[in-house]
Assembly symmetry: D3
Homo-oligomer: 185 residues x 6
Amino acid sequence: MKIKETLDFLLEADRLEAFPRMGYLMRGVPRPESVAAHVHGTIWVAMMLADAIPGANVERTMRLALLHDLGEVRLTDIPYRGGLHFPPGVKDAAELSVADALLSKLGAAGQRYLDLFREYQAGESLEARIVLAADKLQMILKVVRYEQAGQRGLDDFWNTPENFRDHGLPLVADLFAELVARRES
Amino acid sequence: MKIKETLDFLLEADRLEAFPRMGYLMRGVPRPESVAAHVHGTIWVAMMLADAIPGANVERTMRLALLHDLGEVRLTDIPYRGGLHFPPGVKDAAELSVADALLSKLGAAGQRYLDLFREYQAGESLEARIVLAADKLQMILKVVRYEQAGQRGLDDFWNTPENFRDHGLPLVADLFAELVARRES
Amino acid sequence: MKIKETLDFLLEADRLEAFPRMGYLMRGVPRPESVAAHVHGTIWVAMMLADAIPGANVERTMRLALLHDLGEVRLTDIPYRGGLHFPPGVKDAAELSVADALLSKLGAAGQRYLDLFREYQAGESLEARIVLAADKLQMILKVVRYEQAGQRGLDDFWNTPENFRDHGLPLVADLFAELVARRES
Amino acid sequence: MKIKETLDFLLEADRLEAFPRMGYLMRGVPRPESVAAHVHGTIWVAMMLADAIPGANVERTMRLALLHDLGEVRLTDIPYRGGLHFPPGVKDAAELSVADALLSKLGAAGQRYLDLFREYQAGESLEARIVLAADKLQMILKVVRYEQAGQRGLDDFWNTPENFRDHGLPLVADLFAELVARRES
Amino acid sequence: MKIKETLDFLLEADRLEAFPRMGYLMRGVPRPESVAAHVHGTIWVAMMLADAIPGANVERTMRLALLHDLGEVRLTDIPYRGGLHFPPGVKDAAELSVADALLSKLGAAGQRYLDLFREYQAGESLEARIVLAADKLQMILKVVRYEQAGQRGLDDFWNTPENFRDHGLPLVADLFAELVARRES
Amino acid sequence: MKIKETLDFLLEADRLEAFPRMGYLMRGVPRPESVAAHVHGTIWVAMMLADAIPGANVERTMRLALLHDLGEVRLTDIPYRGGLHFPPGVKDAAELSVADALLSKLGAAGQRYLDLFREYQAGESLEARIVLAADKLQMILKVVRYEQAGQRGLDDFWNTPENFRDHGLPLVADLFAELVARRES
């Protein structure tokens, strides 16, 4: 391990603890979770999905979940609708550029993490699809928590079909269905 | 005035009150100012500069200052170094795209505001240069306030030459010089 | 421009960024907007009104809006009902006293700003009436935002006739009517 | 006890939990204590002083400490320097007016509390002087805590002689002396 | 009074201002009151109860209320349901251990406070029962305030019979009944 | 996967996002990280350690890191010195009791997670020792970040030898040594 570079990396990555999830903030959630907390929740969902889905590599799934928002260390959490004002692919490329800048100093380990980041962005492997689903499941679970606490104005999250993609995973579809059913009752 | 569209615009623009200035947040300022508060301070600086600079149109200067971060209503406050991970011009184009989407519904008034937004982005008119300078002067003043309150780790702001451009305005150069001199003493 | 005095003024006026709007705070809004953000929103409303009302001087309207809560730099945002426990006129006089103390050090520019502050307090010119209306319109718009986000207990704002005065401006009456109609539907 | 009126009183007095101490806020303390927490600390100091000062009535001292900022339920915490912009006595009269409005609905108990509030404002009884001193001791203790945590810009608190009056109580003088000595070392 | 030890005690006890009430936090209250503010409210309720209940010693009641959460200076506010995961009596013993550690340095005064803390924990004297009731009455009043402000998900507080014990005091039963009746209407 | 139970578990575990790290709070950090963010950082450190330490099972290391503070879902983050007021082993037993209550509803997956939680508490396996070290490394890294931002009063963290145990891992010793060396320079 490159000691100094690793510590510098960890200190910079710690910014995710300070960055709020902007989609909640713009809709009036007074103290939204941080990106770091979102990643924490995503790893939980991803691990539990991977444990339940035959053939999934749990270790790689957890790595992908941990890495999936690394680009936000420098870009912060640009909201979904804000991203639509960029040309297609530009935001993904910027996130990869950040991941590359951060990880390229970490030697072989960094190279490996960067490959995993690319795998997540490609979104094709079983593990990447699990993390893409976990990212949204965590988000909807958080919306449920906010709504239980009296927060309103979060209908957009429920009305955006993109948030409920199952990525070809029936278990994910079941989890979303249960969440939707609970809200409607 | 288009009543309904104007109210919808104002309600969406109110998001700037919720969005923190991310450059402070990433450096550990626990409760950084909002973008709305930054714009408020920028208007103060811009008005006072325009009142003191012969030939400046104060009304247009104040309009430009009010409008200058309108793109952040949807993009949020992407930090300076984050922006470097986008291709040149892409962030400006995205901000213009947001301003266009927001203002195009407001009829003739909206068209006029959009022209002013373009003038600000071009950065060539006297009034646009005053606002570009006011944007940074407000930022450095805020940094002074944070440092007076014990905040540390804000040296980047002082070490970035881009923050101290005078845009050809000697008064701006004098103000920056006084701020630097105070810090060094 | 008096360089040092202007910077001192701006540093002191920056307090408005830290002061919460107390009427919201006392009714349980967990993270109410700052006075600075309120002024930002008021300038938006005031400019748009002035652009739509024939005969209004937009520059002076924007100046009045920027200045209108300057007294709070030292008094903070004393709530409306709190103010009723002072003898009539005392709070206005205190705000003027603060504005005078802050602005009198700024030379000719400061004198001009102080005259504008007096014009706002007199509330008689077209521009002053626009800003008085904008002050309340911004407040009701913020209440709408809070209520959309699930906040309750804000009925007082809607039930206080003083908040809905049109100051002889039909456009203002129309805007309030639309806001009330939206809430009732 | 008047059940309904008492509950209404307690619900309104609960606002003190939401109101920040503005003197800290204006100097850049990011999350200053509430007025309620200040009163809590003041009661601690006042009780400990009264227990140590021969002849002091501890019960009345504690009552006075609990009541001493009741006017802020409606006025909020107007900073010391802001108060100087009011004519002499006006702020005290407003606080008494608030206390009267709140307490007059509570029957005999309320009348008694109002008499105690007046005793505090008069500042002459031993118990009132203990609470006046406790109010400032708590404040300086809080400043010590903030400075230990890295907060800066709080010199005003130390440089204001009014904050260090002993109200004729040698024990208070000793406590302030110890606090000053600690800071200087 | 032991000057140095008393100041050290007050500085450590000031932590209660920073500690949030965790039961609210876990249910999504974004900015819950501090333990210090809770104690402040509890003293108000306790004093008013003691003033209305024949035979109650008001001074001792107020002292018990002030002391009742002193153990949280080091333990923080462990939620009720969390406490159920400890063996019976362990949490009380830990709170007493903290109170002992804090107060034993204060000489005779500290010994007296420690005896009062024990009296509160025993919960048998009239004054201790008043404070036990005031502790819960303050909590339910706070829940009412949160619900008035739109907070949801606080039903647990209303559904826990333990929160509504009258401790043999008819006045307390009346106050709870009025609070329940208001919520149901 | 037990769909409903899993969602209930995730919703309850989400509380970690709301719970602040109390050791920072008690020392005056105004907006300390959440337990969830701490776990996020711990997973990063743990993964990077496991990747660099021959023989370490990365998957199990990441699982242990994710699980290590699960007891705080109900107990909240009782500070280290607070824990010393409980009899030895009581706090660990309470954390295990919480983990058991949460996980026992999740079927076979839950049983497996509970076994991992026990492995972490035992602290003997290579992976458990990596996570014990990562828990403290993340903490010291956070302290570095706070101190870079001007926070003071955090010397306790550096002066507690327990925070710097290497658990028999030379790489951990090197990382701590580098952190200490940076602070001293």
